[in-house]
């Protein structure tokens, strides 16, 4: 449990929260906190690593302004949000800015666009950089006009004196004026005066996407570009023992067949020619399969049976609190797939030894390092430029497609090579969200409060990045391969398998253990929310089970154990918006559910109430309506935020009700939408309402992953309420619900 007062930065920083924003508030808009003295003189957010202001903001003499971010647009609307932030702090019209996203040749290294960090890291950096650039421009104007700074104001891209004289930013900027290090603190605008930030500004990328504009890496067409397809092995570790490529080389349009150990690919002039050549090449390839996959029907035994490194991640003891009634439960989650609608794609071109790759990877810098290592070339000779792909929801095939393209491009110097993964390849080879098991045991005291809380989670790591070349499929399959790096747990407070394993509630006795499992029978890595999805699902399902045992209302029961004020407000808001009433009865066949979590106990707060209808004949569940409340600190774009929460509920519902990767003894068998069904339109609810609690002036809190965990538990709780049966094994399929009803 964290301290209830979240703005006590000293304790957070002392606790090793390395990725927490070091954000300084001046007296002007501190909330109810006294400003703490900055413990270290480093500027906030990503400015800490990339302190030069002109790494973030560039103003040309002609007045054109560019904002640089090391983060990638994944479809969350970041380009727009960052543009809003910069426009606000710079005091320029929104449309006068251009945003340049992740590019190893042009932008800061902000690692991965992941973990809901973009607002906290990049948004904060841009906000502060823009504010400081404005200050510099004002100072320059003051110098030139020989006026005190107080007599100057900024508006619409110019500094204006009280006597009416006006100097545009373009006129003011000179030489290396912006090539200075950022200060640790900035004079940020008063949120009460915001014109653009906090407004539902329409996304800058949508008009192009709805009129057929080029928007994705899949849309790239470079002159002389060839189309490539990979022939992947049929299973993990398969060896290519024979492949007669001669016939394929003679097929129409084929320009190259690349074979490097177990890496097999073909490039052709026409895209469909490449597809046909791929099929022929696959038919000609003979593989020796070596994989032995575990029993997919008993993941509980599989996961808990693997060797683990165990650590107690939280411990608290108060012998005075004694439990009288104890309950326990075990929850499981299968492997789950990112399921990106657009299979991964990349374009690469090698010109005079310089390799450029256009890719939708979440991390251009780490992927660049991995590719350079794979190609065994110096780092500066490789450049990765982010171009949007379809939603990736974590570590999907994007990084690997980039490596594939680079490997083929190296074999065809000067020629742009476009690699497009097939649907089956994306489904089979992407790294999955790992299977997890949680075991909970708690006891209630005589007042129906939780006296004792025990939680254990078994999980693989939830990230194989950055992993160098060894994390790339192409590098693993090459003749001179790179070994996959040893998996490492992600450290708390962020965590991986243990993300959100520590609930935000306060319990007198608590013991939380993380069983970190290094062995990975299936290829896994980061999937949206990481361990938080299953941990929150477990905790919030169990809270309901405890509430039932205590004879208490689920909302009241949670509030009883939660001290965090912002958390309490989010819970109250969702309950109020839903019309939650203690002791309420749902209409026949329906049930109500509630759940709450603060993502990573550091990012956005989210509470979700749901109404579910279960068809007792078929067991089929249907979400009737969902009401969510979210607190993400200072809201930049309320429409974007609402979109993320709505999406989180729909996506999580699909994971929770339908999704499990399937496999037999050797191969992944869920290889397309037939065998890995996801939510379709007739399961969309009647309504989803999102209530935003805006906190002007407070730090941005990442919101891209805050809804998935609570949505899962809320749905599970509603199903339990509707049917009287508690299901603990994901996914909560129609058949499982039916069997539970019938039992």
């Amino acid at each position: 449990m964290t301290d209830p007062v979240i703005l006590d930065r000293r304790s957070v920083l002392a606790g090793g929260g390395a990725l927490i924003v070091s954000f300084s508030l001046t007296d002007a808009f501190a909330q109810d906190q006294a400003p703490a003295p900055a413990p270290a003189p480093s500027p906030p957010g990503s400015l800490k690593k990339t302190p030069m202001l002109d790494s973030w903001i560039r103003i040309d003499a002609d007045g054109s302004m560019t904002v640089f971010t090391g983060k990638a647009e994944l479809g969350q609307g970041f380009k727009t949000a960052f543009q809003q932030i910069a426009a606000e702090e710079l005091d320029v019209p929104f449309g006068s800015l251009t945003v340049v996203t992740a590019d190893t040749g042009r932008t800061a290294n902000e690692g991965y666009t992941a973990g809901s960090h973009s607002m906290q890291d990049s948004g904060t950096a841009i906000q502060n950089a823009a504010a400081q650039v404005r200050e510099l421009l004002v100072a320059e104007a003051a110098r030139r006009l020989d006026l005190p700074v107080e007599n100057l104001r900024t508006e619409n891209g110019a500094v204006i004196a009280s006597d009416g004289r006006r100097l545009s930013y373009g006129e003011l900027v000179a030489g290396d004026m912006l090539h200075v290090k950022a200060q640790a603190t900035s004079r940020l605008k008063d949120p009460a005066t915001f014109k653009v930030m906090g407004q539902p500004v329409p996304r800058v990328d949508i008009p192009g996407k709805v009129t057929g504009g080029a928007a994705y890496v899949q849309d790239m067409r470079l002159s002389g570009m060839v189309h490539a397809r990979i022939v992947r092995p049929p299973s993990y570790g398969a060896e290519l023992i024979d492949c007669d490529t001669s016939a394929v080389e003679k097929m129409p349009g084929v320009v190259k067949v690349v074979r490097d150990g177990n890496f097999l690919a073909v490039a052709a002039k026409g895209e469909f020619q490449a597809v046909k050549a791929m099929a022929a090449l696959a038919a000609a390839a003979k593989w020796k399969e070596t994989a032995h996959l575990p029993n997919q029907d008993d993941l509980l035994a599989v996961v808990t049976g693997l060797p683990s490194q165990d650590s107690t991640i939280f411990q608290r003891s108060n012998p005075a609190a004694v439990g009288q009634k104890t309950i326990e439960a075990t929850y499981t989650r299968p492997y789950q797939s990112h399921g990106s609608i657009g299979p991964s794609c990349a374009v690469a071109q090698s010109v005079d030894g310089a390799m450029t790759v256009w890719t939708h990877t979440q991390g251009v810098y780490p992927d660049r390092q991995a590719i350079a290592e794979m190609l065994r070339v110096p780092l500066p000779s490789v450049r990765l430029i982010h171009v949007e792909g379809s939603g990736c929801y974590g570590h999907n095939g994007a990084d690997d497609a980039a490596a594939d393209a680079a490997l083929i491009a190296r074999a065809m110097p000067g020629v742009p090579v476009r690699v497009q993964w097939m649907r089956e390849q994306e489904h089979s080879w992407e790294p999955f969200g790992p299977a997890m098991v949680t075991r909970l045991k708690a006891s209630l005291d005589s007042n129906g409060a939780i006296a004792d809380w025990n939680f254990e989670v078994w999980s693989n790591t939830h990230s194989m990045r950055p992993g160098g070349a060894g994390a790339l499929l192409a590098a693993q399959h090459m003749a001179q391969p790179f070994a996959p790096p040893p998996p490492k747990p992600l450290p708390l407070p962020e965590g991986g398998g243990d993300r959100n394993a520590i609930p935000l509630y306060t319990f007198p006795n608590a013991h939380i253990v993380h069983h970190f499992i290094p062995a990975m029978p299936l290829r896994i890595s980061a999937m949206r929310g990481l361990g938080a999805y299953h941990n929150v699902f477990s905790i919030e399902s169990f809270m309901d089970e405890l509430a039932t045992a205590a004879g208490a209302d689920p909302v009241e029961f949670r509030l009883k154990h939660l001290e965090d004020t912002r958390g309490r407000e989010v819970i109250a808001k969702a309950a109020e918006g839903f019309g939650w009433r203690k002791g309420q009865q749902a209409p026949q066949g329906r049930g109500y559910g509630f759940a709450f979590a603060r993502y990573k106990n550091l990012a956005a707060y989210c509470a979700i109430a749901t109404e579910i209808e279960v068809n007792s004949e078929t067991g089929r569940p249907r979400l009737v309506r969902a009401v969510a409340a979210v607190d993400s600190g200072q809201v930049v774009n309320p429409n974007g935020l609402t979109n993320q929460i709505e999406g989180a509920i729909m996506q999580s519902m699909s994971w929770t009700l339908y999704e499990a990767v399937t496999f037999d003894d050797t191969r992944i068998t869920s290889i397309d939408w037939q065998t890995y069904p996801i939510l379709r339109f007739n399961s969309a609810p009647d309504s989803i309402e999102v209530h935003i609690i805006n906190r002007p002036g407070l730090p941005f809190l990442g919101s891209g992953e805050t809804g998935q965990g609570p949505a899962a538990a809320s749905i599970a709780n509603a199903i339990a309420h509707a049917t009287g049966k508690r299901l603990r094994n994901l996914p909560l399929t129609r058949k499982r619900i039916k069997d539970a009803i019938d039992a």
């Binding site: 068998t669 397309d672 939408w673 037939q674 069904p677 129609r734």
Partner: protein, 455 residues
């Protein structure tokens, strides 16, 4: 009037009155008094469970549910040659369902096709089969239905023209075609066979779709299982005249009925999808019994058919394209471009396209089913691993579909060419939409029950 004509007139009057009395006696049924809807808790849960299984075998929810409506609340339009009949609400709703029916009324409906008010039910409700169901099974079914959630859904008016809209005419139909009474076991056959016979001739009412009907809409007794119609689909002959390229046996039938697919035949779709969806939840022994009985109906295949079946299976392992006849060139190109990419990959069922040499749709004398599938494909079952085939109604015009079908017939069957294919396609376009819009669709899908199938 003369004396003889008076006598004749009196005789005629007497005959008419007698006829009316007889007719009345035949046609009239008393109403059974309504009861207070029985409390669901008053039924033994074990009985309810048995009723559930029986209802699944009877496929009750399929006809008595309309897409978008609640289970058993009726409203499904069933096209017949005489007009459209809408299925009734058999939830225990007191006003619009059977909530006020005592068990005797329910049994009478199953046995004789009469509702609680004494009105004759149209034989679209197949009581000519359900009459075979034992009292004990009727009791279980009653218990099951009376414990479903009541749904207020008034019956929709049937669309029949005079005089068929007068229910009394059904009395005459019943006189001719309804043979009341329950199933009599055959002591020369095994218990399993008898169980199968009881289920097939009774609740499962397979013949209601798979037997051709006469002009009065009754199953032709001498042509049992020789093939029939349901909605816009052909229900294949499932007797010795079966057109399946590979002959069916009990094991294959069991797999198909229980799982919804069988490697040598294909995937159950169209109206059969809902049947197998229900059978997947029924006890294996009952499905075995049905399969055993039906295997007897199919009969032992002739050596010629057996040989043909083996040949077809061998060819399916390695599909070779022999040059198509010039007449079928257009169809051949369409097949190669639009179909072979899924139907010749060798990916096993149920997720790979079936090798069309195994397809009954293509070997059947009636091209309707093949047309239906080409036009509408195979729709996904929400939330279930299920086969998905795109439909080609929007991208192919009638002549293209016809060319394709004619090619498929020539290449993948050893049967004479179909006739009137373009007309079939034109009709199929129209009728398919209705089927897809109103049928509730299966809730389960053809899938390997262990979910461990190879791709």
């Amino acid at each position: 009037m003369t004396g003889s004509s008076r006598i004749i007139a009196s005789v005629v009057v007497v005959i008419l009155i007698a006829g009316a009395v007889v007719g009345f006696a035949v046609a009239w049924r008393p109403a059974i008094a309504a009861i207070e809807p029985p409390a669901p808790q008053s039924f033994d849960p074990a009985l309810v469970k048995r009723g559930r299984d029986l209802a699944a075998i009877g496929n009750c929810n399929d006809c008595h549910t309309v897409r978008g409506g609640k289970s058993f609340a009726g409203g499904l339009p069933v096209p017949t040659p005489f007009g459209i009949i809408f299925s009734s609400n058999i939830t225990p709703d007191p006003e619009t369902g059977i909530g006020r029916w005592p068990e005797t009324a329910f049994r009478r409906a199953m046995r004789s096709g009469v509702d609680r008010d004494g009105r004759h039910l149209y034989p679209t409700f197949p009581y000519d089969h359900f009459t075979n169901v034992t009292d004990a099974d009727d009791q279980a079914l009653y218990a099951y239905l009376m414990t479903r959630p009541p749904v207020h859904a008034p019956a929709r008016a049937n669309r029949l023209s005079f005089p068929l809209d007068q229910r009394v005419v059904v009395a005459g139909w019943k006189l001719l075609f309804l043979h009341r009474g329950s199933y009599q076991p055959d002591s020369t056959k095994s218990a399993e066979w008898n169980r199968g016979a009881y289920l097939v001739e009774g609740l499962a009412h397979c013949g209601a779709c798979h037997t051709p009907r006469n002009a009065l809409g009754a199953e032709r007794a001498t042509a049992q299982f020789a093939g029939g119609d349901v909605d816009s689909w052909k229900a294949y002959a499932i007797n010795g005249q079966s057109p399946a390229p590979v002959p069916w046996d009990a094991e294959a039938l069991f797999s198909y009925l229980r799982q919804g697919w069988q490697p040598d035949h294909g995937v159950a779709r169209g109206p059969m999808a809902e049947v197998v969806s229900n059978l997947s939840s029924v006890s294996e022994s009952d499905v075995h019994a049905i399969a055993t009985y039906m295997a007897g109906v199919f009969g032992t295949p002739t050596p010629e058919r057996k040989r043909r079946g083996e040949e077809v299976l061998a060819q399916a392992q390695k599909p070779e394209l022999k040059s198509p006849a010039p007449a079928n060139q257009a169809g051949a190109s369409i097949y190669a471009a639009a179909c072979a990419t899924c139907h010749e990959t060798g990916r096993p069922l149920p997720y790979g396209g079936v090798n069309l040499g195994l397809s009954t749709a293509i070997s059947d004398p009636d091209p309707r089913n093949a047309a239906n599938i080409v036009l509408s494909g195979v729709r996904e079952v929400e939330g279930e691993r299920s086969p998905i085939m795109p439909g080609f109604a929007a991208s192919m015009d009638d002549s293209q579909v016809a060319a394709l079908l004619n090619y498929l017939r020539a290449r993948f069957s050893n049967q004479p060419a179909w006739t009137g294919v373009e007309k079939t396609v034109e009709d199929a376009r129209r009728t398919q939409t209705v089927f897809l819009q109103t049928s509730p669709g299966p809730h389960n899908s053809p899938a390997d029950p262990t979910q461990r199938d190879k791709p």
